[in-house]
Each structure stands twice: as C-alpha cells, then as structure tokens.
Amino acid sequence: MQRPDEDLEQYLRKFQPRAVRRLELRPQAGNPWPLRLAVAAVVVLTGSVSLWHAERKTTKPANHVTVQAVQSIGMPQTRMSTPALTKLALDDSEAFDALLARESRTVLPSMQGEHSALRVLSKE
C-alpha cells in the first residue's frame, strides 16, 4: 500500500503550479487626511493674505501721499494753530514765509492750469 502511494505522490509532484505575474508594488494607499489638511491650510492662508492685502489698500487714507509729501519737506503733520502761526511770524519771519509758501501749494488753487479760475479772473 505504501509503494503505490509514493508512486502517486511522485506522479502528482511532476505537476507544477503555473507561473504568476510579478509582485506589483502599487503606491501605498495611506491616510489621505494629512495631505488634505495641508492643502486646506495653504488655501486658507493664501485667502487670508489676499484679504488682508485688499483691506489694507481700501482703508489707506486718501491724503496719504499728501501727508507724506508734507512730511518730506519738513512740515509738521498737524496744521499749526493761528496763535502758533502768529508767534512764528513774529519770531522768525523767514521760516513763516517758507511755511506759507509750502502751505500754499496744497491750500491755494493751482494757477498752473490754462483755464484755472485765478487766471481767468486776472484776465478780466
């Protein structure tokens, strides 16, 4: 009985399993949440910066450039009061004249334009 079994086993072992395809190393399907959170954070950050930038532009004072220009020529940021102007006129007439000249550039109407009101009046 033992011998026939061995013969049959030998016969069966002559058959081999069919070859299979190579082991495919597919990309690991890990947890997608860290990547999604990172993308969301970038989007929120970009949006916040854009909003902050836009808001900064709209809230900037209209006379911002003028104030800067005045500062650049040494004018005080706030206009001087009448008593202070009087004191300046009495103490230092040259400084007072310079101040008036600078002030006139922004306060008085421009006479540079061809049809400015003062030019028209002067012709009349």
């Binding site: 049959l8 030998q10 072992r13 081999q16 069919r18 070859a19 082991l23 597919r26």
Partner: protein, 163 residues
C-alpha cells in the same frame, strides 16, 4: 509564537518562492486564476506595508492568509465553490493540457477538506503535522484526509496516467 515584520526584500523572496503555489492553492479553493493572483498579491502587499507580524516560519501563515482571503472573496462576490474547469493552474510534465485538466478535474471532485490537504502536502510542501496545525485539526485527521484523497485520485487517474 515569535513574530517579526519582514523587509521588502524578504517579502519579495517569499513571493518568488511560494507565489505560484499560493495562487494554485487559491485556484484549488475555487477562484479563477486572475482572482487568485489578486488575492495572493494583496496578502503580500500587506506584508510589504510592514504592519503585519509574521511568524518565524511564514509558510503556514501565508497559506492561512490566502485561504481566508479566498474565502472572503468568494463570499463577497458570491463565487461558486466549483473550480473553473477549462482553466489550468498547474503545468504538466508532458506539456499536454489534457493531462493537467484531467488532474484538476480529479481534484475538483474531491471533498474540499481532502482537496486542501492533498494540495498542502504535495504542492505546499508541508508535513502532515504542519497541515494539522494550520487547519487546527488532529494529525490523525489530516493523515486520514490525505489517505482518502490519494485513494480517490488513484481511482480517477489510474486508467490514463502511469504511476
């Protein structure tokens, strides 16, 4: 039981050594060849991910994993338990597909537990003790299943085959 996680090279070496037999085992349990390949690949990809503790002697573990995965796939896809009768998952010594189909047909006619036992012994290279441990049955049961399986195979193959 001592377990460890395997490196990629070790997993690939195991696949090279046992992959084809494991696919044939999955076919023997009722899957078609393509589905059997997918099942075995999934088992090895899990090993590659490194989260699975593997015993020091991984052969029984691999067969058990393929067995469970095949069972789950058959259940989920409602595959028939019957093996595909025109597809070969063995290669014969003569190269004639008729010889292979005759053997596969004889295997298909065996009760599942006998078919499994004879496959693990002949093509899995396992001892009866290892088969018993893997299937959680007494060695005597494994031995009797194997003996009955050989008797039935001899009856079915004898007229044509020479052994």
């Amino acid at each position: 039981m001592v377990t460890n996680t395997l490196k990629a090279a070790e997993v690939k070496a195991l696949y090279e050594k046992y992959g084809s037999a494991l696919v044939a085992y999955a076919c023997c349990s009722g899957l078609d060849f393509a589905a059997a390949e997918d099942v075995v690949q999934q088992v090895f990809l899990k090993l590659l991910q490194g989260h699975v503790p593997v015993p020091q002697t991984p052969l029984a573990y691999l067969y058990r994993s393929v067995r469970n995965a095949s069972f789950n796939l058959r259940r989920n896809l409602q595959h028939e338990v019957e093996m595909p009768d025109s597809e070969t998952w063995l290669v014969g010594p003569s190269g004639h597909p008729e010889e292979v189909l005759a053997l596969q047909s004889a295997l298909r006619e065996l009760p599942e537990e006998q078919r499994e036992t004879v496959f693990l012994r002949i093509w899995g290279g396992m001892t009866l003790q290892e088969i018993a441990d893997m299937l959680d049955i007494p060695v005597s049961t494994a031995a009797s299943r194997y003996r009955y399986a050989l008797e039935k195979l001899r009856e079915r193959l004898q007229p044509a085959a020479e052994f």
